[in-house]
């Protein structure tokens, strides 16, 4: 679409903007250019409509802007501020298309005096907690290296749980997340968070994340509450405070063992990376195999040495035996009667095979045998 400035050199009939185009374009520019902002001003004529919405003006010395606050936020804000009250208003500028009106849509209205009081309150709590040592760095516990179960204290309606689940699934898929659902802002949030934190002490978990998601406009009240801070300090496992606020640090951030900028960052800090652990397991397996190979090499070398010694021992034993046998057989040889016969002796044997050793053993005319070195010779006694 061409810019309206170009109309001056063109005929209006060729290139003309409709009112709708104009307002819609202005709206798009305004509504995309402005983030949520705080505006300071004085209340003019705040009216509560039967629908529950608030309509009011906001002015300062130089200008004025029409504001509205929708029912839901108006209900949370309580009583409409009186005429002339100086306030901070959080909201964003819009253009109301059907009327082409510029408006500021407020989500929160905070009397500047109340903010001063809130700041004083925060300072008082901070001092008290500091005096009791709750911010002491020596109190900070390290997070477990390998958490298996983690408690999460937050609102199930918020984005925090979803972010934590997503990161956990990626980093440590065998994890267990135990969520304790609490309100994180508004009435009852403080008591609910305190109760949830006490409940954490009854769970078998390795650490606790407390927090909420959100951006710059979120209400941190509960996370700056003294009661919540003291309940957090009493949690027996290490704690991570994860209040997803863009700029501010909440008091729970100071009390917790670890502060995470967002719930996702808290989950990153809570879990080891399973891919690192898988790599480490692989490394351990390799080192174990190498270690065992080293042991077996050592053992087989030793076994080799032992075997050599065994053979040597056996050999010398056999050697000793062999010489002994040779000696013994030489002795046996020497004793053998056959060797005597070799030398020319003969042995007379009776008919019954007995050696005839005396004269009386030989009967007259009786036959006998003479045993000589190479056999026997028949013989007879001629005379006695």
């Amino acid at each position: 679409m061409s810019s309206p400035l170009q109309l001056s050199i063109l005929s209006p009939e060729n290139d003309v903007w409709s009112v709708t185009d104009l307002v819609r374009t202005a709206r798009r520019v305004i509504e995309t250019e402005f983030p949520d902002i705080w505006v300071r001003g004085e209340i003019v004529a705040c009216k509560v409509w039967p629908s529950g919405h608030w309509y009011f003006g906001l002015r300062d010395a130089g200008s004025q802007v029409r504001c509205c606050m929708w029912k839901l936020n108006a209900q949370r804000a309580g009583k409409p501020p009186a005429e002339g009250t100086e306030v901070f208003v959080l909201g964003r500028p819009v253009i109301y298309e059907t009327k082409g009106e510029f408006q500021f849509v407020a989500s929160r209205v905070l009397p500047t005096a109340a903010l001063g009081a809130a700041q004083r309150d925060l300072d008082r709590i901070k001092t008290a907690l500091q005096q009791d040592g709750l911010f002491d760095p020596a109190r900070k516990r390290p997070l477990p290296t390998y958490a298996a179960a983690v408690a999460v204290v937050t609102s199930l309606a918020g984005a925090a749980v979803r972010d934590i689940v997503t990161v956990t699934r990626k980093r440590w898929p065998c994890a267990r997340l135990l969520v304790i659902d609490t309100r994180v802002q508004g009435d009852g949030a403080v008591d609910e968070i305190c109760r949830a934190l006490r409940l954490v002490n009854r769970l078998a978990v390795d650490l606790c994340i407390v927090g909420r998601g959100g951006g710059g406009k979120e209400d941190l009240g509960a996370f700056n509450s003294e009661k919540v801070c003291r309940a957090l300090a009493a949690v027996r496992v290490p704690t991570i405070s994860a209040v997803g606020h863009e700029t501010d640090i909440s008091l729970t951030d100071l009390v917790a063992d670890v502060r995470a900028a967002t719930p996702s960052a808290a989950a990153e800090a809570a879990w080891a990376d399973s891919r690192d652990v898988a790599r480490r397991l692989g490394d351990i397996g390799e080192r174990m195999a190498n270690g065992l190979a080293g042991r077996t090499r050592f053992a087989s070398e030793r076994l080799g040495r032992t075997g050599d010694r065994l053979f040597a021992a056996l050999g010398s034993m056999l050697e000793r035996r062999r010489s002994r046998i040779a000696r013994l057989s030489a002795q046996l040889d020497a004793l053998s009667p056959l060797r005597v016969l070799d030398r020319g002796y003969a042995v007379p044997l009776g008919e019954d095979g007995r050696v005839l050793k005396t004269r009386a053993a030989f009967g007259a005319g009786r036959p006998f045998r003479l045993r000589v070195s190479d056999g026997e010779v028949p013989a007879r006694v001629e005379r006695q």
Binding site: Y146, P173, R202, M288, N290
Partner: protein, 71 residues
């Protein structure tokens, strides 16, 4: 029930002892066997289990009840 942390601690110990010089073969084999079993268990634990997302509720009597949430 042992945890991954227990497994890793014990596995590191096993590796240290296997890498040390003064170990009998029998002891080394026993350690290696234990190491392999632990390694397998740790791997299964790491990859086998599903992410559990649960909600903790406190009953009126003070008892705790845990219900599964859709992760």
């Amino acid at each position: 029930m042992s945890t991954i942390a227990d497994d890793l601690t014990r596995l590191e110990e096993i590796v240290r002892r296997l890498e040390a010089e003064d170990l009998e073969l029998d002891a080394a084999l026993a350690l290696f066997e234990e190491g392999v079993a632990r390694l397998r268990a740790a791997r299964e634990r790491l990859t086998g289990a599903e992410l559990q997302v649960q909600k903790v509720l406190e009953e009126a009597g003070g008892d705790l009840r845990v219900v599964d949430l859709d992760g």
